[in-house]
């Protein structure tokens, strides 16, 4: 089972938990309807479509409402520290949340006792706090974009907002940034770096480069990184190893983008609708 943890930009009074359903591009969780937009809802929608294609159960979600004040994030951390061990999830994907090192470490501690230990994926705010806490190596997959990779490579930066300029200027030298992140122990076991070329890397270096099809507009479209993480997480939950899942998800995400024929003004829902066909094509061509 895949469990997805994150926040949504709504004023939910409490943490919602349960299996999601996706009906005509709308998410339903614990009796509540949640609009799909960029962020954790896009990740969930992509994961749900992937699971449906593979014949798996829909993802389990644990969501709090937070528009940035951090109140929902704190509710979510507290909930996780108590409940995360009871889910029995094979894979847990952590997403939008206000970074808080102390709470992150409490949640990680709660997972340390689990046997088998779930496969851990982190993106967005949870990736930031995983790195800042010095615990990046406890995770199996991070999905940074190029700017976030520079942040992972900067051992002094607690957030991408403080990434030092000399590293941001290195963005055309991704292998060096990847090596630096691993040297500082600030990278997960596998990295999926999203960019003009998507790179899949491990401590041993770059393992795969995915650059076709080229859909330049996708970089501007909010949520394309979320759909990529959602597909990868769902594939891992279905039993695929992390590295292969990252490669397949990167290919499918690009293909879904191409099928949507996007402009920089395209919204993520249009790309999500193309995921089943794109993923089926990629899986069929393996």
């Amino acid at each position: 089972m895949l469990a997805v943890v994150g926040t949504v930009p709504e004023r939910l009074p409490q943490v919602l938990e349960g299996h999601v359903s996706l009906n005509q591009e709308r998410l339903f969780l614990a009796g509540q309807e949640i609009a799909v937009g960029r962020g954790t809802t896009a990740l969930l929608a992509a994961a749900a479509k992937t699971a449906s294609l593979l014949g798996d159960s829909p993802p389990y979600a644990c969501l709090a409402g937070d528009i940035g004040t951090g109140e929902g994030s704190l509710r979510l951390y507290s909930h996780l520290a108590q409940k995360i061990g009871s889910w029995g999830a094979r894979v847990i994907a952590f997403h939008y949340i206000l970074p808080d090192v102390d709470w992150h470490n409490r949640v990680l501690l709660a997972m340390d006792t689990l046997s088998p230990r779930p496969i851990l994926i982190a993106d967005a705010g949870y990736m930031y706090v995983a790195k800042m806490s010095g615990q990046a190596q406890s995770y199996d997959l991070f999905t940074p974009d190029v700017g976030e990779l520079a942040f992972l490579a900067d051992e002094q930066a607690p957030h991408p907002f403080y990434t030092r300029g000399f590293l941001l200027k290195e963005e055309d030298r991704l292998p060096e940034l990847i090596a630096r992140a691993y040297k500082n122990e600030d990278a997960s076991r596998c990295l999926l770096v999203k960019g003009t070329r998507d790179l899949v890397a491990t401590q041993e270096g770059i393992q795969a480069v995915i650059q076709e099809p080229v859909v330049e507009a996708m970089e501007a479209i909010g949520g394309t990184g979320d759909t990529l993480t959602g597909m990868a997480a769902s594939l891992v939950a279905a039993g695929m190893d992390v590295l292969r899942a990252a490669v397949a998800a990167a290919r499918a995400n690009r293909l879904a983008g191409r099928l949507a024929n996007p402009t920089p003004a395209t919204q993520i829902q249009e790309i999500i609708s193309k995921i089943p066909y794109a993923l089926a094509t990629v899986m069929g061509s393996r």
Binding site: T7, V8, P9, G37, R38, G39, T40, D66, I67, G68, T69, G70, G72, S73, Y96, I97, L98, P99, D100, V101, D102, H104, N105, A124, G125, Y126, Y128, V129, M132, S133, G134, Q135, D145, G147, E148, F151, E155, Q156, A157, P158, H159, P160, F161, Y162, T163, G165, N184, E216, A217, E219, A220, I221, G222, G223, T224, G225, T263, P264, A265, T266
Partner: protein, 187 residues
Amino acid sequence: MKSFLKRFRRDTGKSPKPSAEGRQGKGILVFRSTGEVIRAERVLRAKGKKVRVMGPPPQIQTGCDMVIEFALMEQLEVKRILGDVGLEPLGVVPVDSPLLTPVGLYHVKELGAYLMVRAANMKLTVERGTGLIVNVSGGGCPDVPYLAQELVGQNLREAPQPLELGHTLCGYALQMAFEEAMRRCLQ
């Protein structure tokens, strides 16, 4: 303050070393949340105070935070200005080593009729001819989906500034991208 300081970053031995040059005469104001920092900066600047938003020293980093650097000799006046609007810092700390500096680099990419501006981890895409905000991407803090929801479909001239709605470092970075897009599109 005590509970705030309990939330130290785990000591990984990676903290920046103090610099010999130091920052004599400077102090930092520490607040409960990034939202309070954003508000305090706005209030102090409106009163003509020379303040800067900076990264906190490693000993008090919690995750998504920033502090306000100010001239220590103005401490009483600064606290009074903040008190007048109901803002009370958790603490005032003298600074004797360099603080982290926010990203100052912008990446600007032309995508046909659109312009994508990136500041730190946030990207804002606008239609060049009209200033219409068509997409917000990047980021990882929880106000990002909310900001995207509120800004996309609005014109740069009429849209609320991200700092008015945002609460986090990602919101602050989006403000920087927003201002750069304004400079480039609406000159």
